[in-house]
């Protein structure tokens, strides 16, 4: 690390600056590493989105939604780009390539785009980029990683789940396997990419050299597969698709409440005892606490139908939030199924500021989930979602030292 870098990284004691204040990241606007860029924003890095003139494809990533102002935006982009700055550069033009290279010379980290072919055709490979800046950390997230027989294979969120082995155990037995929603494969793989980037930064302090962080989305998903992955196959555990978990055992599984479902897992003897007391207290069914039902779950299995008829009646008296609260009070392991909309007004999130107001420049205000972490009591945060190229002037003038005339000419030539 140069002295200059040490100074840049030394400023972050104020919470506003964040843990990585001064770190310079160029985000080449791929979908896969979009979340890695957001995490670096949350940690205080200066993340600059490099978009083609007119804006990057992620701005149109489905689903498109309509804001209260009438503006149509991508919910994906709104979440992922919050707090990033934006410059527009056509790096296929000579003058544009030169601008990009000047930014790279000065950067700590580059987040590469998704497409392996584009990385090659745009000369964004690690060797080329690090010939401009030996200390640069080049972070790549591709479907299968940078080597091996599938290194050129195309990928997607779906392909990531299919290639990890988890999907085969998901869904209903009478239909094909399904995948989780929400873009989870990209998110966990982006977290791996962030880990690699930070490790490479620490290495650089000793070696002064950067390196390639080469993340495979297949491996990213595989590394979250302990309970349904290959190790369990070797232990003889099957991977059948079992559909939903309604009433899978006595006082175990999903049960209907007035406004949805709750999940009860009263398996251990003391957990059943607490459940039985609740049934007795609330429904007046004294026999629930009889010895014949007590002890191990195995001994209750023959009474599953009877026990679950009580649980159904009990659950039917509650809303899910009220059931969950009472079950927790009684130390009965339980949860409830929230939809994403249920979380918009939620007591726990309200108490900790779990939603963050964000401005989408030119499109209006919206809310998105705040990052899950705090340092010394200060929760992380993001900033506005940028308009494409909104920081051209600032960055080209102050960081690259371009004159106003030069910037105007680049603009007129369609380079920025």
């Amino acid at each position: 690390m140069s002295e200059d870098e040490a100074v840049r990284l030394s400023t972050p004691s104020a919470p506003d600056v964040g843990m990585l204040g001064g770190l310079r990241v160029l985000d080449l606007a791929g979908d896969s590493l979009a979340y890695a860029g957001r995490v670096l924003v949350e940690l205080g890095a200066d993340v600059i989105l490099i978009e083609p003139p007119g804006g990057c494809a992620a701005r149109r990533h489905p689903p498109l939604v309509t804001m209260t102002t009438g503006a149509t935006v991508s919910a994906f982009f709104a979440y992922m780009a919050a707090g990033k700055r934006s410059v527009t550069i056509d790096d296929t033009a000579h003058a544009g390539r030169s601008l990009l290279e000047r930014l790279i010379v000065d950067a700590d980290v580059v987040l590469l785009p998704d497409d392996v072919d584009a990385i090659k055709s745009r000369s964004l490979d690690e060797t080329t980029l690090r010939s401009l800046n030996e200390g640069l950390i080049v972070t790549s997230l591709t479907p299968f990683g940078g080597n091996g027989p599938k290194r050129h294979w195309k990928g997607s969120e779906l392909v990531a789940w299919a290639s990890s082995g988890i999907m085969a155990g998901m869904g209903d037995p009478d239909r094909p396997p399904i995948l989780p929603g929400g873009g989870i494969a990209q998110s966990v793989s982006s977290l791996n990419a962030t880990i690699g980037t930070l490790l490479a930064l620490r290495s650089r302090q000793r070696t002064t050299r950067g390196q390639l962080v080469d993340i495979s989305m297949q491996e990213g998903v595989l590394s979250i597969s302990l309970e349904s992955g290959p190790l369990l196959a070797l232990e003889g555990r099957s991977q059948a698709r079992i559909a939903n978990k309604r009433h899978i055992g006595p006082a175990h599984g999903l049960f209907a409440v007035q406004d949805g479902s709750v999940e009860i897992v009263a398996i251990l003897p003391r957990q059943w005892d607490a459940m039985a007391e609740w049934i007795r207290d609330e429904l007046g069914i004294e026999e629930a606490t009889l010895d014949v039902f007590r002890g191990s779950q195995v001994s209750r299995t023959q009474f599953t139908e009877l026990i679950n008829s009580w649980v159904v009646e009990l659950a039917g008296r509650y809303t899910k939030e009220a059931f969950f609260t009472e079950a927790q009070r009684r130390h009965i392991p339980s949860g409830l199924l929230n939809s994403t909309a249920d979380l918009l007004h939620h007591p726990q999130l309200d108490a900790v500021g779990g939603w963050e107001e964000v401005e989408y420049v030119d499109a209006g205000q919206f809310r998105s989930p705040r990052g899950p972490i705090s340092f010394d009591g200060v929760a992380v945060h993001v900033g506005p979602v940028p308009r494409a190229g909104q920081d051209n002037d600032e960055i080209f003038r102050t960081r690259l030292g371009l004159s106003e005339a030069e910037i105007l000419r680049l603009h007129a030539d369609g380079v920025i």
Partner: protein, 462 residues
């Protein structure tokens, strides 16, 4: 210990872990594989649930002191660490624990807030012992505030609470959810990110810090785009079975093999044209009413019938390779066995055989974080319970041998049980038939050879 390469990113960092289940243990696993000395402080009174499960093949009645070393999942969460059996709520146990903290850089825990208070593990308690300490805890809902602050959950409960479960399923049926303790994993990843950020800052400022992480909010962050959609529209996005929202065609299609599927996803216009170039699917390109993604979303069921006819005449591999050759994102829907035998994972050396004190050799995953210059190093498998108790209490905590002895006698510290008892995973004898891992001569016992090769070094400083 074996050699940690001096240039490993964390070779100067010592981590104390009080970890249960998956979240904190996998975080510390990554720290260990990138050079940190990770010491797991383990209790018999409050055992890690992964320890208590034991191997599925182990006969009932096997003593718990052996069973706790055999859970295969533990081999996934804890490779490369050292294990100290220590009860930290007794007087000398707490003193020994404080000595470990004083000589460490990082503490990582996933404990409930009430347990943290009960065991005097609050940041205020421990920063007195080590002001430079980087302290991280990750209770289900964070430590800060809120009505759920003291609630206890399992991973599947948290997935349901965070909106993840309802996003997985068929739109016309009840949600299926994910067969994983999903939030544990990204919480572990986030913990590594937070600790590394704090280390980078401490390198410059010298300051320790307290990090608080909410696993509930981690799970939400991972589906941030869906929550943002709900926040903007006021309506929850629906589950979509095997389709990717807003892209078409995407899905999982039958093949000519029984219960074997191929996943196919057209994610942009070039890929649609690529699909239309595949032999047998050229007619799709002539349909002008399929030109835009909106057209194709509207005609998705019809497209599925055409694609299913095509895939049903091929094996999953044939279909996937033919589609990939044209430039379409496709892959067989792998089961667990396919994963073990995948040539791609083999080329990336994803699976590893590591030396183990209890097993001789142990199969585990490699690292999904791949660095070109300072890669993860895989030194040894997960430790037996208390395998390193004496060594660590002497060398790190600075205790005298007679102190350690009396703690073991009084039950405040625990050693590895029956250290000479060697077990072997039943599958290690035949798994070479499907995996092409670097393996020693087949005529000799796998476990013995691997143990000979690696463990002399391992045992040298015991």
């Amino acid at each position: 210990m074996g050699e940690v390469p001096a240039e490993a990113p964390l070779s100067d960092i010592r981590v104390i872990e009080i970890g249960y289940g998956i979240a904190a243990p996998i975080a510390c696993r990554s720290l260990a594989e990138f050079g940190a000395d990770v010491i797991r402080v383990e209790s018999e009174r409050r055992p890690d649930s992964l320890r208590t499960m034991g191997a599925g093949w182990l006969p009932l009645g096997v003593d718990n002191e052996i069973r706790r070393d055999t859970t295969i999942g533990f081999g996934f969460t804890c490779p490369g660490k050292r294990s100290v059996g220590l009860e930290i709520d007794g007087t000398s146990g707490q003193r020994a624990f404080h000595a470990l903290i004083a000589n460490s850089d990082v503490l990582v825990m996933n404990m409930g807030v009430e347990a943290v208070e009960h065991l005097h593990l609050r940041y205020e308690d421990l920063r007195q012992v080590n002001p430079r300490l980087i302290y991280l805890n990750m209770p289900s809902f964070g430590s800060a505030a809120g009505p759920y602050r003291t609630y206890r959950t399992w991973g599947s409960n948290l997935s349901g609470l965070a909106g993840v479960t309802m996003l997985a399923g068929w739109p016309d049926r009840e949600p299926t959810g994910i067969p994983l303790s999903f939030p544990d994993y990204p919480s572990g990843h986030w913990a590594v990110i937070a600790v590394l950020s704090a280390i980078l800052r401490r390198d410059v400022t010298g300051l320790g810090c307290e990090i608080d992480l909410s696993q509930f909010q981690v799970a939400m962050a991972c589906i941030g785009p869906s929550l943002t959609e709900a926040a903007i529209t006021g309506t929850a996005p629906q589950s979509t079975g095997a389709r990717l929202p807003g892209r078409a065609p995407t899905g999982v299609y039958p093949t000519r093999e029984t219960e074997r599927w191929v996943a196919l996803s057209v994610i942009d216009e070039p890929m649609w044209h690529a699909l239309c170039s595949v032999e047998g699917l050229e007619l799709l390109g002539l349909e002008t009413e399929l030109d835009t993604v909106e057209d194709r979303l509207a005609a998705h069921d019809d497209l599925d019938r055409v694609l299913s006819r095509w895939t049903s005449r091929r094996t999953a591999w044939e279909a996937a390779t033919e589609l990939q050759r044209a430039g379409v994102a496709a892959h067989p829907v792998f089961d667990q066995w396919d994963v073990l035998a995948d040539p791609q994972l083999e080329a990336r050396e994803f699976f590893r055989i590591l030396p183990s004190r209890r097993f001789g050799a142990e199969l585990t995953y490699g690292q999904a974080v791949v660095l070109s210059e300072t890669p993860a190093h895989h030194e040894r498998a997960a430790p037996a319970f208390g395998e390193h108790t004496r060594h660590v209490l002497r060398e790190v905590a600075g205790l005298e041998d007679d102190e350690i002895e009396s703690m073991i006698v009084s039950g405040e510290a625990h050693e590895m049980s029956q250290p000479d008892l060697r077990l072997e995973r039943p599958f290690l004898g035949w798994i070479r038939n499907i995996m092409r891992l670097p393996w020693p001569d087949a005529s000799v016992s796998t476990a013995d050879v691997l143990y000979q090769r690696y463990a002399n070094e391992l045992l040298a400083d015991e």
